[in-house]
Symmetry: none
Subunit: 215 residues, 4 copies
């Protein structure tokens, strides 16, 4: 019982069909519910959040949520999917392929930092609430992580081949970079670290590339 009248909707939308406004409203309401869910889930955690709280936060009735999502778990999954879309669309901008490793890394870090800052609640969920909500969801979370890791590892490997990096272990390097990304969430989210994202990125890239050792 998923909502997938997408194609028909699109046609009507192009034709300017009146009925679309209603459908459009439905899409908007769906989003509004996810927005509310992000707020509540991120501050209280999945299990401590009652469906009614989300409804209240969204300014709607409890039952209305079930018009758009089949269950609490599905709402959370939808939230995660939309969040990751937002996250990835922020990461993968256009013509990164052309850039050198240092620039790509710098962009990656900066995008991560600013995403975290602008979407604190989302980020909190993406990085903290990977709790064991559901076995399937856990697997999914790990798979997402693995995918991210593989992409990064390919980039690292390529950079080594190109001679941009010295002969390091590409896997460990990947882990170190991911660690640097992740280590910043806590201060950004919980401690309101307010240094400019680009400056932060530059400094961290510098440390990663040159190392912190004296000479």
């Amino acid at each position: 019982m998923r909502h997938q009248p997408l194609r028909l909707f699109y046609v009507r939308f192009l034709l300017g069909d009146e009925s679309v406004k209603r459908k459009e409203g439905k899409g908007l309401k769906r989003d509004a519910i996810i927005d509310a869910a992000v707020q509540v889930f991120s501050s209280k955690g999945y299990h401590n959040t009652r469906m009614e709280e989300i409804a209240i936060a969204a300014g709607i009735g409890k039952g209305t949520i079930y018009e758009y999502f089949e269950s609490k778990l599905q709402l959370f999954q939808a939230l995660m999917e939309r969040s990751l879309q937002t996250y990835y669309s922020k990461m993968e901008t256009s013509d990164l392929q052309q850039l050198g490793f240092r620039e790509r890394l710098c962009h990656l870090l900066e995008a991560n930092f600013s995403f975290s800052r602008e979407n604190k609640n989302l980020a909190r969920i993406i990085y903290w609430d990977t709790d064991v909500i559901d076995e399937e969801l856990k697997e999914w979370g790990l798979a997402i992580r693995k995918e991210k890791e593989e992409k990064l590892k390919a980039i690292v490997g390529e950079a080594i081949t190109r001679g941009e990096l010295r002969e390091v272990d590409s896997y460990l390097t990947t882990l170190v970079i991911m660690g640097c990304l992740e280590s910043m969430y806590v201060p950004i989210i919980f401690e309101d670290l307010d240094r400019p994202a680009d400056e932060l990125a530059l400094q961290v890239v510098d440390m990663i590339m040159q190392g912190i050792g004296n000479k």
Copy 2:
């Protein structure tokens, strides 16, 4: 509402207080319960774990847990405290003070890696289940993290002063190092990364100190 009768207990124990013997027996069973709790909580998460499951895992009756812990939350808190004690006792061995930064860092990484490997369940809880179980617990988790961070930052600052490191931002450096520590948990815990801890540590320290850039 933290459990801190530890010191008083210790005094009585040294004095041979009668009540301690009972407490000692109690202590053993208490520990057994926490052991069981570690198993179950770490594999199913806090909210998906039922008190009865812990009781069964501990081979005792459900009601007995309440003889030793006031509530599920308090049991989890006690577990976290004991886990962190174990963790820290592993980290802060003897005469690290004398060593140079590189050696201390290396030791820290190695200790972390081997701890994670030897105490997968514990590590899983410490790094993953800091979920929003309870507002108070969340604050406490963050405070612990902050404390860790401060200690590390002091060490970094000192190393810079001593000229062991170049003039980097000690705070960012701390975050990067913590990121490197944390980034290894997932592969170790979930993917059974099996490289020797000391070798891993050496490689990562090398990357951190020299950087990964070519020249």
Copy 3:
């Protein structure tokens, strides 16, 4: 709170009242809704049927049902009334009064069997779904049954007086006959018993009249 504007409606209809035409249109849709309700209620039972299913079966919107019926219960009541009207109109044909007991009984049985066969859904509701949907409805169902019983008992009494039957207890006889009627529903409705209704009726009447004992 029974629906009984039936007579008034009939008068207006004969007089050509304008309001009737609207009502007539309404009457058609009303009937269509009841038709749909018969389908759904009879296959899923009262409580397992959702108003929306009836609406879908009727090819109309959910809210429209409420233009014609005040509530789910009232829809069911209306359905029962119409069903019983249909049932009785099938039973009480023309000049049965003239016939002898055997013929009347035979007609009754045959009419019942063919009604059941031709209106399986209706029959299922009439004989099976008199479940405890509502206290008032239960009383009503019992009253209907009692009425049926009284009619039959009068016929039986008369037949005894006329000497068509031997001196049996007219009440018990009535119950036995009703039992024979009812006992056929299950095989007809659920097992598609396909013997011709008239043949079935003859055989059963024969058993009732002559008994099954040898000699």
Copy 4:
């Protein structure tokens, strides 16, 4: 998670084990819950009965029911099973095999009548609440009925062979007899028909065997 420590229980019971009393109490409580369920279900119907009402009727807490039954539906199934056991144990007394058809039929009718009278609530459920509670349950109900029918048909067939009955259709005869049984429930249950069961049985058997026709 069914309760089936029956064998172990039995051994302990024979040995007079103390722990049995508790288990025995459990069995008693299980029965008490079913008793309460019979009361409530039979007067309000399955769907109008709330679990809490059953709990209150049983003088226990709502959650306690779930210690003994997995769900509302399972409670109802258990109730039906126990009811049918009670019913059948009443029907199938000892040495009916020896008796002639007339005597067996008489016994069957009498047993049915007195069962209905003594277990009005049970009977109400067995004969009236075969509502579409659940598809599976409906099938089961029909299967039970079919089984009953087959047994009776065999007896009828045998009686015909022995020449106790004239050459009637054994299937129809079976249906007629079942109809006679069933037709008595309503007056007995809802109208407190108070004639002695044995007398009723004799009269009905007489009608069935000799017929009601004059001569």
